[in-house]
Amino acid sequence: MTDSQLIKAILRGEAKAQKALFEKHTPGLFQVSLRYSKNEMDAEDVLQDAWMKIFKGLSAYREEGKLFAWMKKIVVHTALRKKERAWFKNESTRIHDIRHPKVDPNAIQDMTADEILGYVLNLPEGYKQVFKLFVIDGFSHKEIGELLNIEASTSRAKLTHARKWMRETIMNANKLYAHES
């Protein structure tokens, strides 16, 4: 069944279609959720809230063919709001500092996802979200602006800084690697 058929079935009130849509897209959305959550449990919570919003908002969905992008935006939005609420509650959402991995940049191809995450997660908080939203999830600066309540130009500037930061970090890691070896 295509997404479009599933949506029509859901809007007709078919519960089975809801489950089918859930099973089809949950793995992909979970990856998105993970990127903006502090752990898997949090990511599942985010996904649960996001799916509720998706089902409620399906009647409003009009962009044929871009369902996953629409759902992804809801997941990211939910995760970011959850993070804000946690901040209000004074919960620590900081990811424990991960030391820069000492690896040969030439061997970056052999790095695991966690090692790559190490670099990304060490980005300053303000740059990290923009970097992930733009580079990993492919949102436009306008969309990032809406999600983070910043201007599109601010998003662009933050991305530039994030890229610079990444470059310098990897260069430093390279020097460290060369020195230690």
Binding site: F22, S59, R81, I136
Partner: protein, 452 residues
């Protein structure tokens, strides 16, 4: 390695993450919520249906209940009206009658005037002087004054009961001039009724100006909904202006509290239906000021009444005494209103700005409680249970058009400003005009919503 390569690798690595959630556990926590949501949605439809039934039902009851019913106040205050119920004037026939009275030689007119039982009606002034009023002859300019003016006839809210009128009521007043029936500014000036009318009528500024009411309403607005960031908690201030066609009275709201609980159902990106409950508590100070701007000249037993422009508009014969009245009463009423609005809104966004257009209906139950009435010297006017209508409640029906503008300061903080125009019907009317009307020129509201 260039930055793009690095980013591609990072993206690739992220995509290599194969962790999956516990699908069954996740679905088992979502499924019951979806069922609940379905029930909530059904409940909302019921709620909208119920609101519509109440509005339509109450309207039909109201219309039925006024069919042929005489407003008790009119009944009491208009002796001749009661006798003439069968020929109660309409706008048209009163106009016709007035036209006919222009011709003083009209046989019909003379016959009717001569047959009036109040021709010999006597009135007591405050000094207990007897005033005999007869042959109170209207002149043509009266007709012009009342029918060719810009005095609006749509904006009536009968707050004071005794001094607001529909055009039909006004027509009856004109008929009264012909009949010398008596005009009673109740409950304040019972003893002076015979003289108040020409005095008050002479003052065009008082009579023909639309009095306006400005209400500053401060309150909390609670807005609940669902969907993507649909829940919100807001605070708003409002300024409203109503055009009220009050004669000889001005009113202002001393304080007002407004609380609104709104459930909003979003149907797609643009459309939404809102319903809920709205509570308004307003204290209104109504000042009745009767000024004597007319000049009454008494020569022998003939009184000539001229208005402030020097126009002679009434000649009263067989007058033994003339008293002019300049008095002021202040009345304090407390209004409580519980409304059920039902509004359909269309929203269109332009970046962080969005506009919203709404059209809706609402029904309210208004209750009015007369607190106290002060005389000019600040002494308290004794209230009378029957005449002062110490407490009463009314249904009120309104249609509304809204235009709103909002700015998203943050995703969870929204500033909005809205303009709302309402036209409403209530059952505060008279027997000939059972439903009086209210027209709120605008109601400006501004505030912020926190969406959570």
């Amino acid at each position: 390695m260039n930055p793009n390569q690095l980013e591609n690798i990072i993206k690739e690595k992220y995509n290599q993450d194969t962790r999956v959630p516990n699908m069954d556990a996740l679905w088992s926590s979502i499924a019951p919520e979806l069922k609940k949501e379905k029930r909530r949605r059904a409940l909302l439809w019921w709620w909208c249906g119920l609101a519509l039934i109440i509005i339509v039902g109450a309207s039909s009851i109201l219309l039925k209940s006024h069919d042929g019913k005489i407003d008790p106040m009119i009944e009491k205050s208009s002796l001749v009206e009661n006798e003439e119920k069968s020929t109660e004037p309409t706008i048209t026939n009163v106009k016709d009658e007035l036209v006919s009275t222009d011709n003083h030689n009209s046989v019909d007119n003379d016959a009717r005037v001569n047959s009036e039982p109040v021709m010999s009606e006597s009135f007591l002034t405050s000094q207990n002087q007897q005033v005999l009023a007869s042959n109170f002859t209207p002149v043509a300019s009266i007709q012009d004054r009342f029918f060719n003016t810009n005095e609006t006839v749509v904006s009536i809210q009968d707050v004071t009961e005794s001094v607001s009128h529909s055009i039909q009521r006004k027509a009856r007043d004109l008929l009264w001039i012909e009949n010398i029936e008596g005009f009673r500014i109740r409950p304040f000036l019972k003893d002076r009724e015979a003289l108040i009318l020409p005095t008050a009528f002479a003052n065009e500024n008082v009579l023909l100006d639309n009095k306006s009411k400005i209400i500053f309403a401060h309150g909390l607005r609670f807005s609940l909904g669902y969907g993507l960031s649909r829940q919100s908690l807001g605070i708003q201030n409002g300024i409203g202006q109503s055009i009220l066609n009050h004669r000889m009275s001005t009113e202002r709201a001393l304080d007002a509290i407004q609380a609104q609980l709104e459930y909003r159902w979003y149907m797609g990106k643009h459309w939404s239906i809102a319903s809920g409950l709205q509570l308004d508590v307003i204290t209104v100070e109504t000042v009745h000021q009767f000024e004597n701007s007319s000049i009454v000249e008494l020569q022998d037993t003939t009184a000539t009444v001229t208005n402030s422009s020097g126009e002679t508009y009434a000649i009263v014969e067989n007058v033994s005494a003339v008293e002019t009245v300049n008095t002021r009463k202040t009345r304090y009423n407390y209004y409580t209103s519980l409304s059920i609005p039902l509004t359909l809104r269309y929203r269109h966004g332009f970046g962080k700005w969005s506009t919203e257009l709404g059209i809706g209906v609402s029904t309210s139950i208004w209750s009015k409680n007369t607190g106290f009435i002060q005389n000019e010297d600040n002494s308290e006017y004794p209230l009378n249970q029957d005449e002062d209508m110490l407490f009463k409640s009314r249904w009120y029906y309104q249609g509304a058009v809204e235009l709103g503008l909002s700015y998203k300061m943050r995703t969870d903080l929204n500033w909005h400003i809205g303009l709302k125009s309402q036209i409403g019907l209530n059952n505060l009317g008279t027997s000939s005009n059972p439903i009086s009307q209210k027209f709120n020129l605008f109601n400006l509201q501004s505030g912020v919503d926190y969406r959570f």
